[in-house]
């Protein structure tokens, strides 16, 4: 499969270890995986990386994951990209509803659930 056909996952988390393990989980999948530690330039990031799905942590320094998603939703060129929240925050379900995310995962998550939810949007 050529690189252009490869689906792209963009993961935001301020914890490097989380990003690393996510890459490991998805290693067997034929996805292009991009990871970022900061989310304040989300529109630029998306335009540069062109992901098929965004996975966003909530507690990220500076503007935070929720505000980043809001920016993305307000921008016509990015608002149709599916968004999955993942966080240790217990309010994740509510926040997910509030900002109309496509799904959420409570940390610590089960890797099977993680793969399932991505697969739902990427492997159709």
């Amino acid at each position: 499969m050529s690189q252009s056909q490869q689906k792209c996952v963009l993961i935001y988390d301020d914890d490097v270890e989380i990003l690393t393990v996510c890459k490991a989980i998805l290693a067997g999948k034929n996805y292009r995986i991009e990871t970022l530690l900061y989310c304040e330039n989300i529109i630029d990031d998306i335009q540069k990386i062109r992901p098929d799905i965004v996975v966003m942590d909530l507690w990220i320094p500076k503007i935070g994951g929720e505000n980043a998603i809001k920016l993305m939703m307000e921008n016509d060129s990015t608002k149709n990209i599916p968004v999955i929240l993942f966080s240790a925050n217990d309010e994740i379900e509510k926040i997910s509803e509030r900002i109309h995310a496509n799904g959420y995962l409570k940390k610590p998550f089960d890797i099977i659930d993680f793969k399932k939810v991505l697969s739902k949007y990427l492997d159709s």
Partner: protein, 761 residues
């Protein structure tokens, strides 16, 4: 009891004792005790033994010779009428009791319960050791007035009854003195039945004078009437054939023929034996009263006329006024310092209205000797009207005792208490039963910066936080109606820096022995530092649990990757990995619980309501604990077909918590039971184990935060907050959660929640 008065109750030489009393004459005692048309009796001891009583009392109850007997023996019919309870109350509290038109049912000679109405006053008196020893009861029979007022009885029939009830022996004799006619009453008086026309009246039985000497028949009133036509009477005694003597007053009347010549006489004999007996008893009773009068540690005096002239004074009364001469002087002249102390107004009122006056702990300023500086004196006393023969008020009887020492001692105690309150480093105030502010301590003024006037008008209101004032005042109103305590964390404004600081406020009602609120005591303790620290701790906990979950996420993910990469390797390796994952899950649950507790504290634990299949939720919960099962089997019974409105995840958390506990606390058992049923719109779930059980004393506490039954500490793990969280979740579902348990038999936990949310239709 005072030994002197005991001598007296035995009685023998009463007249001697009477003669020894110079202060009060026999005549005066008569007035006080007998001629007041009032019932007077003195009872002693907790059983109310009758010490002495007067004729009106006997008349009232229709019985005699009762001294020494208990009230209950004398008047068993009083049982359940509340009167003995009243006496007990007076006896125990020392507080006098005054009753008006108090109905009492008595069984008198007729054997039928009769209702009499009494105005009465019960006054306890003290012995030398200041102990309550008895009660003086004054009463007025107002039955007639009451009865006539309510027009229950008609005057004519009561008059007839009176006439029928009059005992009178009647006989006639001819000119020679031979007995002619006589009636049944005469027969029973004489004790013999003479043959008409055969016996002279002086030969029917012996006549005696009052000294007991034979009375020559020619000196008898009947003979004088018969022979001389003179009508005279006077008390005589007759001796009956059986030797008993009766006191009688003869009322003879000559009978004249048409020519005006005496041809016989008629005689009415009034038997006054009982009266004479009673008179003798009276003398004894009077002697005892005299003793009481002199030796009782109560003051008694009589004031004559509208100017309140001292008439008789007992030694105890004299003590009130030192060596001053009182007898014969007007009150205002003998005790001029009473002017302006309200005493004369009270006396005038009693004198004019006849209403007795009773007061406790009345403060009067009395000079102990003439010309001496008046001293504060506390007295318990009563003013009773005294009546003359025409039933007109002609004086006042003063009865009471001094309680200065007791009152001052108590006041000193109150003063000490106030000093303590003043020095407390806590806001403290008191208010009356209706909430009127009475007292604020120094700390209140320092903290609030309010003046005394501001404090007494606004009280706490001006320092309450605007966000809390409405709730606090509403709750305070509730306390006033229910009498319950108030215990709440509130913010109060500090004057020095304008800061609202957290306090724990405690308001509690002080109640008297009748459970009536006497006053309210409010305190507030500054807990601002503790509260702030706790908030910081809560915040820390919230961040910490979030931070802990991040590395846990990677640990769990790597372990799962490891598990997947072990395909084809030994089962042992796979088991180790599985165990590690289970441990990570438990760690995750523990961290979640910590966070939940924190949310409950901050009021942030929210539930998300949806309609769901309750049965499915239960099965999920059972699956959820299966990984933790040791050797247990979960036996599920019952079925709910209806969908339930609630937070599916939170309820599953509760069921998992109860099942995990049941497993944890029955380590050697095989089964845990789960039952579900529908009961009147409520879903009821019970989780039963047959394990170690919970002691009754701990049963209420298990739902507390961090409570863990101490006995289990070493043996069993867990933070002990699961039940606390479960309780909160069930409460948010408007349901109930409770437990029943027996040590070494096991426990059952019950949940009920409404099928539908109460606020939804």
């Amino acid at each position: 009891m005072d030994p002197k008065s005991q001598d007296f109750t035995h009685g023998g030489n009463s007249s001697n004792e009477l003669n020894k009393l110079p202060i009060i004459g026999r005549k005066m005692l008569y007035k006080i005790f007998m001629e007041i048309p009032a019932i007077l009796c003195v009872v002693t001891g907790p059983e109310f033994n009758l010490l002495l009583s007067n004729e009106p009392f006997y008349r009232l109850i229709g019985k005699k010779d009762l001294n020494g007997k208990t009230m209950n023996d004398i008047l068993p019919e009083l049982e359940g009428q509340g009167f003995l309870k009243l006496l007990t109350k007076v006896y125990e509290s020392g507080v006098p009791f005054t009753g008006k038109e108090f109905p009492v049912k008595l069984i008198r000679e007729s054997g039928i319960k009769e209702t009499v109405y009494l105005n009465f006053n019960c006054q306890a008196f003290l012995d030398h050791e200041e102990k309550l020893t008895g009660i003086l009861i004054f009463a007025y029979d107002v039955t007639e007035q009451v009865v006539s007022r309510i027009k229950v009885e008609n005057a004519e029939s009561s008059y007839k009854k009176l006439v029928e009830g009059l005992p009178s022996a009647l006989f006639t004799c001819n000119a020679d003195g031979f007995i002619d006619l006589y009636n049944d009453a005469a027969v029973s008086l004489w004790g013999t039945t003479p043959e008409p026309g055969k016996v002279e009246f002086w030969n029917v039985l012996k006549m005696l004078n009052l000294k007991g000497e034979p009375l020559p028949f020619k000196e008898s009133p009947m003979y004088i009437a018969l022979k001389e036509g003179r009508v005279g009477n006077g008390e005589i005694m007759i001796e009956r054939p059986d030797g008993t003597r009766r006191n009688v007053i003869p009322y003879p009347q000559p009978l004249l023929d048409v020519k005006g010549k005496i041809n016989g006489a008629v005689n009415v004999l009034v038997d006054i034996t009982e009266q004479v007996k009673a008179r003798k008893q009276l003398e004894q009773a009077l002697a005892m009263l005299a003793n009481l009068y002199v030796n009782a540690p109560a003051f008694i005096c009589t004031l004559k006329g509208p100017e309140f002239q001292f008439d008789s004074i007992n030694p105890e009364y004299q003590k009130l006024h030192g060596k001053r001469k009182l007898e014969g002087r007007k009150l205002i002249e003998a005790v001029p310092e009473l002017k302006g102390q309200g005493v004369f107004e009270l006396l005038n009122n009693v004198y004019n209205t006849g209403e007795p006056f009773v007061v406790t702990e009345k403060l009067l300023f009395l000079g102990r000797d003439e010309g001496k500086e008046p001293e504060p004196t506390y007295l318990n006393f009563s003013y009773q009207p005294m009546y003359d023969k025409e039933h007109e008020i002609d004086g006042i009887l003063v009865f009471g005792y001094e309680v200065t020492e007791q009152v001052l001692q108590r006041k000193k105690g109150e003063e000490n208490l106030k000093t303590i309150l003043e020095s407390l480093p806590q806001i403290t105030s008191t208010s009356s039963a209706d909430g009127t502010n009475i007292y604020f301590n120094k700390f209140f003024f320092n903290y609030s910066g309010l003046s005394r006037e501001e404090a007494s008008s606004t009280g706490w209101n001006s320092i309450l936080h605007p966000d809390e004032i409405r709730d606090v005042l509403a709750e305070w109103e509730n306390c006033k109606t229910t009498g319950s305590d108030f215990y709440k964390e509130i913010r109060l404004k500090r004057e020095s820096d304008g800061m609202y600081r957290w306090h724990i406020a405690h308001l509690t009602a002080v109640k008297n022995s009748s459970r009536e609120i006497v006053q309210w005591v409010a305190t507030a303790t500054d807990i601002h530092e503790q509260k702030t620290k706790e908030q910081k701790k809560d915040e820390f906990l919230s961040i910490a649990s979030h931070e802990l979950k991040t590395p846990l996420t990677t640990v769990k993910a790597y372990l799962q990757l490891l598990e997947l990469s072990l395909e084809g390797h030994s089962d042992e390796l796979k088991l180790y990995t599985k165990k590690a994952i289970q441990s990570v899950d438990r760690l995750k649950d523990l961290i979640s619980e910590l966070l939940d507790v924190n949310k409950i504290k901050l009021g942030l634990l929210n539930i998300n309501i949806s309609s769901f299949n309750f049965n499915e939720m239960l099965d999920n919960a059972i699956d959820g604990v299966k990984t933790n099962l040791m050797n247990h089997k979960i036996i599920k019974t019952g079925l709910i077909k209806e969908t339930v409105e609630g937070d599916k995840e939170r309820l599953e958390q509760v069921i998992i918590n109860l099942l995990s506990n049941a497993i944890k606390y029955s380590p050697d058992e095989e089964f845990v039971f789960l039952d579900v049923s529908l009961d009147d719109g409520f879903v009821k779930v019970s989780v039963t184990d047959t394990g170690i059980g919970i002691a009754k004393t701990n049963l209420d506490k298990i739902f507390d935060r961090y409570f863990r039954v101490a006995d289990h500490d070493i043996q069993f793990q867990g933070l002990g907050i699961g039940l606390y969280i479960s309780m909160n979740i069930i409460q948010q579902h408007k349901g109930t959660l409770w437990a029943e348990s027996k040590i070494n038999k096991g426990s059952t936990f019950y949940i009920t929640i409404p099928l539908k949310r109460p606020d939804s239709n």
